[in-house]
Amino acid sequence: MRLKARTRAGIACGVIALIFTIFSARLVYLQVEKHDEYAALAAQKHTMRQVIHARRGLIFDRNGELLASNLPVRTVVADGSHIKDADALAALAAPFLEMPAEELAEKLKTDRKYVVLRRGVPDDKAQALGLAMQKADMRGIHFEQDAIRIYPNGQILGHVLGFLDHDNNGVQGVELTMESQLRGRDGYRFIERDRTGREIMLYRGQEEGAENGLNVRLTIDMGLQAIVEDELETAFRDLKPDMAVAVMVDPKTGEVLAMASRPCFDPNNPGTALAEQMKNRAIIDMVEPGSTFKIVVASGALNEGKVNDKTSIFCENGQFAYGGRILKDHHGYGSMSVHDILVKSSNIGSAKMALMMGDDKFYEYVRRFGFGERSGIELPGEISGLVHPPHRWDKLTITRMPMGHALAATPLQITMGMSVIANGGYLMAPQIISTVEDADGNVVLNKPPRLQREVVPEKTAHFVNDALVEVVGDRGTAQLAKVSGYTVAGKTGTAQKASPKGGYAEGQYVVSFVGYLPAEDPRFVCLVMIDNAKIASSINYGGTVAAPIFSRIGEKAARYLNLIPAQRAEPVRAIPLALGDTSEERVN
């Protein structure tokens, strides 16, 4: 039977329509039903999330001198899906990346799309590798923008600045405490790459720009820091102590102007430093402060009315029996005024003033001067020192603590304690961060000076100040701390070094001098502390070891700060630093 032409045409059309319907149905199924699945598959194949690295904020000193900056480098990454011959690529790239070819080949033999081959590759080497790959028609290695931290001044201020770990996280110092401000926030963009691995701009997806880190300005003055570091380095080299510390602060604001410790390290190469070198001794080491602590008992006794400028205290001719033990003075003194007790640094006079005050009152003043508590400086790892409350004292503590024994303080606490006298009786909070600024220099965070408390009235502070001026005079224990042309006030300290086994180490001393100038209107307070200098015990005193270092620092600092001399300049005196004459007597 022959179908009619119309029928045949109808069947043909129907078949074609059916075929198209099937194709359409399949298309709808793929485009609608399976859309998400295949879109994800395509995205996984071609799209990747590219990180836009934020630039870490810079660190400046108070005058804008750059202390920490960034050096652009490349992070070299491999995309396994684009590598055809891993061994050949490894052989080509190994010299540029300074890696063994075998190790590199192992990393390249992967299907993963993102494998970090090496970080911190200099820009020029990365570009050279890119060209070499282009010439050899090889693919699979990409370069990402990155940066490493550099500290142009090397070990100068290393303890304060700190350093970063491999993931660019702050590990120590300001880098750690200001991490949240310095770090910034990485951005990202979704991109698609062609078969050669190049980005197809047309398909650039969602993008969020990086937020660069904020810049941090310190209170440190690099001019003063360099002076302090230079003198401390010389002392460390000549005296070979276990450690040396110098701290300089502005007594009126509590701003730290300089802070240095020895031994030290270079934050550009923290991996080569020993743990001992990385300690910022100014805040994480505690020592018995010695006689520098006598300002606390004198201030307390004066303020409580237990003594006054006319009070005479009998100093037992150098031997004071108390609590079954004999407390000695360096020289035997009879009756002395409070002023002279400080000038001559009498242990017995200081102990008697503490006894007049009583345990609780004396302890109160120790705490009011900031001992036994963290100062709150913006540096990590600060310790509080060690000051036992009166109920844990033994019978001798009240006579030992006034001369700076039976307690432990950090060098920064001692410096801030002296600042109380220098600024007229106020305990300022030490600060090392001045401002946080954006890239245009707009201040985002300002840290004004913070008063912690009024410790003693101005009158009391001036009384102690007068005595401290004479400590550096011809009658005092710190004649070598004089700075020609300026009135210097300060106090020496010589404490036997505590032994880790208990008691005191024989013949080992922590000597210090903490002073300020000009005494009439102090611009800075500076502490110099030398722990176990390798010199003869007979000359290992704060007045002979630390005071001359202070003098040299003070003279240079006064010149740097352009302080106008208020006194007639004295002829330069030769400072008999013990080394020259007694090198054979050094304790080894």
Partner: protein, 124 residues
């Protein structure tokens, strides 16, 4: 049967307006396709240009930062101190005699308090 008249009757005349309309539609579709391809190519070409410019900007920025880092290092206190120590730069302290002070130091006054230029009282 007159074939010539039949043929004349069966001739389908070309309907010019319709033909032109469809031709125009076809041309429009074809043109739109060509323009689409052209614009797409332009986009790729511009994208590539943008990519190259971005790369160049990145390189220049990086080179600038490398140079800045180098300048910072060369002008750092450590390097300058090293150059002083090596004798490349000579630094001599300014002698007091060479300093001309605009405000002469005021020494002890009647109240016995020493004044310096930095005294807060004198600033006012």
């Amino acid at each position: 049967m007159n074939t010539s008249s039949n043929r004349r009757k069966q001739v389908n005349p070309v309907h010019m307006p319709s033909l032109i309309r469809w031709l125009l539609i076809a041309l429009l579709c074809g043109g739109a396709g060509l323009v689409y391809v052209y614009i797409k190519n332009q986009q790729f070409a511009l994208g590539e240009e943008i990519r190259q410019v971005e790369r160049r900007v990145k390189e220049v920025r990086a080179a600038n930062e490398v140079l800045l880092a180098r300048v910072t290092e060369l002008s750092s206190r450590r390097t300058l101190q090293q150059r002083v120590a090596d004798g490349f730069i000579a630094v001599k302290p300014i002698q007091d005699i060479a300093i001309a002070r605009l405000t002469p130091p005021t020494e002890a006054v009647r109240d016995g308090v020493l004044r310096t230029a930095f005294n807060e009282g004198l600033r006012q």
